[in-house]
């Protein structure tokens, strides 16, 4: 007889499966990473002013991350819906909260990797400077903002996975919701870079906002993902 699995075990298996699929297909590495890099370069061309670029570097990194998040989430659910695998997981009675957490974890790993690349690009292209105390703030900001983005993205990815026109529906629904992350992460990153005269200490309250945001959507997703992917 089949046995029910704990949330943690389902989450680990789903996250490992999603990351293995990405390692095999390399869609994110070969397509999303270059796309995000191009966005950074295009911003540099469009603004064409070192002072402005240094000032807005944080916002540009997070905008590029948001655009990439849309593609990563769509890909994450496309691999599950293409041959009915998401329904198979539902039929098999896998804990929907485990599926939610697992998919969000896999998205988070991919986003963090992308953000490392984007911040390196910001240092090279936009000539931002980062000091030790700013680095601690930046790492905390990246982790909390990425958690929030991954959780919201997975929640809305599940909501739109079975709907017609999901490619356009996902950004339409998700982008307004992640606006607080964009604002908070941008302000915290500007503080970490001390751009525009900001102090590092100014960034910590924004990190608090990001943590609360991630906690709310994490809990919301765990509680509601099952009904979102039900018929």
């Amino acid at each position: 007889m089949s046995t029910q699995l704990s949330l943690g075990r389902v989450a680990r298996a789903v996250a490992a499966k999603d990351l293995r699929i990405e390692m095999r297909s390399r869609v994110v590495v070969n397509q999303v990473f270059p796309f995000a890099g191009l966005v950074m370069v295009m911003f540099a061309f469009a603004l064409d002013n070192d002072d402005v670029l240094t000032r807005v570097a944080g916002g540009l990194v997070w905008l590029a991350t948001l655009f990439s998040l849309i593609v990563i989430i769509q890909r994450s659910f496309a691999v599950d819906t293409a041959d009915g695998a998401l329904e198979a997981q539902r039929v098999a009675g896998l804990d929907p909260a485990g599926i939610f957490v697992g998919k969000a974890l896999a998205v988070m790993v991919q986003l963090v990797t992308l953000e490392i690349m984007l911040f390196v690009a910001a240092v090279v292209l936009y000539r931002v400077q980062l000091h030790a105390d700013g680095a601690v703030l930046l790492v905390t900001c990246v982790l909390s903002a990425t958690a929030g983005l991954s959780l919201v993205g997975t929640l809305y990815g599940g909501l739109t996975a079975g709907s017609r026109g999901r490619e356009t529906l996902l950004p339409l629904l998700m982008l307004p919701v992640v606006a607080p992350v964009l604002i908070g992460a941008t302000r915290a990153t500007e503080s970490a870079f001390t751009s525009g005269g900001a102090a590092v200490s100014d960034g910590w309250p924004w990190v608090g906002v990001l943590v609360v945001f991630a906690a709310v959507f994490g809990l919301g997703g765990i509680l509601s993902f099952g009904s979102l992917i039900e018929e």
């Binding site: 499966k17 009915g84 695998a85 198979a88 039929v91 009675g93």
Partner: protein
């Protein structure tokens, strides 16, 4: 033989339409029951209701002793539904797909290996990505997933669709073997000649009702 599926005057409403209208059916353990009927008669709805995917709005329905009117969730780990899609991850190999489901029930790697061997999808084939497989190989992989998941009730919707004669024979052999091992099978099919040869009994589904 114990009763695995027991529907009495069950009503299922789908998109505002009674797709099952007071349907009654009883299936005992080890049976292979063929559901036959025209398109839109309610065969797929009956299978999905058995899987606990659709709510029973009136009547009585129990699967594997679980009352579906009260709890549709707890029966799900014990049933396997194979519809028009195979439910596989195209970028993963056969063995990775089967291992994913094996993990979910705590099945051992040796069990996976023996299942792959029994289904003829072991060796080098097991390391092929699903996207590179033929339709028959994908079906065998999907059925292997049901086996490692230890599904007690197999709900198969057009299992022969899109397969050549050899692949159909292989699928039939797998279904017979699963029944011999204690599984119960409900098949919806339009391939009546083949499916009748496989089934121990057939029933007709007409306008949402089951006719023996």
């Amino acid at each position: 033989m114990s009763i695995v599926v027991d529907f009495r005057d069950a009503v299922v409403v789908f998109n505002g339409f009674p797709a099952l209208a007071e349907a009654s059916i009883e299936v005992r353990r080890g049976e292979i029951v063929l559901l036959q009927g025209p398109n839109g008669a309610g065969k797929t709805t009956l299978l999905r209701a058995c899987a606990g995917l659709l709510p029973i709005v009136r009547g009585e329905a129990s699967v594997l002793g679980v009352d579906l009117c009260v709890d549709r969730q707890s029966v799900r780990p014990r049933v396997g539904l194979l519809g028009h899609a195979n439910g596989l991850f195209a970028d993963l190999t056969i063995s990775e797909n089967v291992l994913f489901w094996a993990q979910m029930v705590g099945a051992k790697v040796a069990e996976v290996a023996s299942t792959l061997q029994r289904f003829g999808i072991d060796g080098r084939l097991a390391e092929q990505k699903v996207m590179q497989l033929s339709a028959g190989q994908k079906r065998r992989c999907a059925l292997a997933c049901l086996v490692v998941r230890r599904a007690e009730l197999w709900l198969l919707d057009e299992p022969h669709a899109g397969l050549d004669a050899t692949a159909r024979d292989e699928i039939d052999a797998i279904i017979r073997e699963a029944c011999a091992a204690g599984a119960t099978v409900l098949i919806a099919s339009h391939e009546l000649e083949r499916a009748r040869g496989l089934a121990t009994r057939s029933v007709s589904v007409v306008a949402g009702r089951v006719v023996s």
